[in-house]
């Protein structure tokens, strides 16, 4: 269970949100909504432990994530605005490196994962020749190979076409149905079925 207690985050002198508390149970998707600049990305980065909150804490299974450190990160897959893709490596090399750093299985089937995101033909192409949407798909392919319970996704649907948007929604539904946790921001409509809770940051 991911639990947020009295979380306050600020950028510079400006408080983005104050005393925010919520929890995400296994099998639940939390849809974080809010206008541009309302602190969605900051919240997600704080949940990952990339940014430090001004006050309050984030707990995983009841323990603050600052204490869990590596144990928490092994449960977590974060896809942020930046895709984490190096243009001079091929799509397959990028995915292999991404899963390796994420601590996933060493004998992961990279080819199968690339096929599922429709990048088989581009597997050997340097990633700098991929389109924005293809790069996004390559980043999201990490979710397929890493078997982590907690997904923290910052605008995963940007630049995706209708077809892969639908596939992504299916994947989210399946992950939640299997007892996974998802925290997501998106300006596109989510078509996920299952237990969904919403939180608005600018209200």
């Amino acid at each position: 269970m991911l639990q947020v207690v009295d979380l306050t985050c600020s950028r510079g002198d400006r408080a983005l949100f104050e005393k925010l508390s919520f929890s995400v149970q296994p099998g639940e998707l939390l849809y974080v909504q809010g206008a541009n600049g309302s602190g969605k990305t900051t919240l997600l980065r704080t949940l990952c432990g990339l940014s430090q909150p001004a006050d309050g804490e984030v707990r995983w299974q009841g323990t603050p994530i600052s204490q869990l450190a590596d144990d928490y990160r092994s449960q977590l897959c974060y896809i942020g605005h930046a895709n984490g893709i190096q243009g001079d490596l091929s799509a397959a090399e990028n995915l292999r490196f991404g899963t390796c750093v994420g601590g996933a299985d060493s004998h992961v089937d990279i080819a199968a994962a690339l096929e599922r995101v429709g990048l088989t033909k581009a597997a050997r192409l340097p990633a700098k020749f991929l389109s924005q949407g293809q790069k996004r798909r390559l980043a999201l392919a990490r979710l397929l190979v890493a078997t982590k319970p907690l997904w923290i996704l910052d605008e995963p649907l940007t630049a995706l076409d209708v077809h892969f948007g639908a596939i992504m929604n299916e994947r989210l539904t399946a992950h939640v149905a299997a007892g996974g946790l998802v925290v997501i921001t998106s300006h596109q409509e989510l078509a996920v079925t299952g237990q969904i809770s919403k939180i608005r940051l600018d209200s």
Binding site: C48, G49, L50, S51, Q52, D70, D71, R73, S74, L76, Y78, G80, H81, A82, N83, G84, I85, Q86, G87, D88, L89, E93, R96, F97, G98, T99, C100, V101, G102, G103, A104, D105, S106, H107
Partner: protein, 226 residues
């Protein structure tokens, strides 16, 4: 089976070597700088062999030091821009050994190549033949220290505007002991003196930097990403 720490570190090391091979200009620039700077000295101070051999240890060491500094910018900048650094920070493995793998790859593609080139440039500066071995060994011991200390500066100045100048201000003072004892050893060797003490000191610097720098770099990276 989950990928272990050593496997992940090797993965990072190999990736950085592959990237260096695909972007040879990044590797060649500091090397070219090293060659050009040490070649300018004979043109500037004149071709007297005695003067050149007196200058050689210092010139080669300063040039190697500046060339290493020139290459520090690419250590983290690319990974910072494309989000790879975020993923590394969120790895279930401790960041310190992962950072060490990156610095090791950086040294192989900068410092090690400087060591290989140095005897050639030493000949040009009329360094006595018996001091060439000492030059290579001091660089072999000293350039990893430069890479390690430089990584702390590179991590601290990540994403800062005008970071390059700040980086040199941060790192150059830390480089001075390495320069003094590195060049000192070569000078001593050229005049036929014992160099054991210099080697011991450079080795001690290396051990100190190996223990402390990756940890400091990892901490600095976490601060820079916040």
């Amino acid at each position: 089976m989950s990928q272990n720490l050593l496997g992940t570190a090797r993965c990072i090391f190999q990736r950085d070597l592959i990237l260096a091979a695909r972007k040879p200009a990044d590797v060649a620039t500091p090397l070219a700088f090293f060659v050009i700077v040490s070649s300018l000295f004979p043109l500037g101070v004149g071709p007297e062999p005695d003067v050149l051999s007196r200058l050689a240890p210092g010139v080669l060491w300063v040039a190697a030091l500046l060339a290493t500094m020139l290459s520090l910018g690419r250590l983290f900048a690319g990974d910072h821009a494309d989000g790879t650094l975020e993923q590394m920070t969120l790895s279930p493995h401790p960041l310190t050994p992962l950072v060490f793998a990156k610095v090791a790859a950086h040294w192989v593609t900068s410092g090690l190549l400087l060591v290989v080139l140095s005897p050639l440039l030493a000949m040009q500066l009329n360094l006595p033949a018996h001091a060439m071995g000492t030059l290579a060994v001091t660089l072999l011991l000293g350039t990893p220290v430069l890479s390690l200390l430089g990584s702390v500066g590179a991590a601290l100045t990540l994403g800062v505007r005008g970071g390059g100048v700040l980086l040199s201000l941060l790192v150059l003072p830390l480089y001075t002991p390495v320069l003094i004892f590195g060049a000192g050893a070569v000078t001593a060797s050229a005049s036929g003196l014992d160099t054991k003490a210099y080697f011991s000191l450079l080795g001690a610097f290396l051990l100190l930097a190996l223990g402390f720098a990756p940890w400091a770099t990892a901490a600095a990276l976490r601060i820079s990403l916040d």
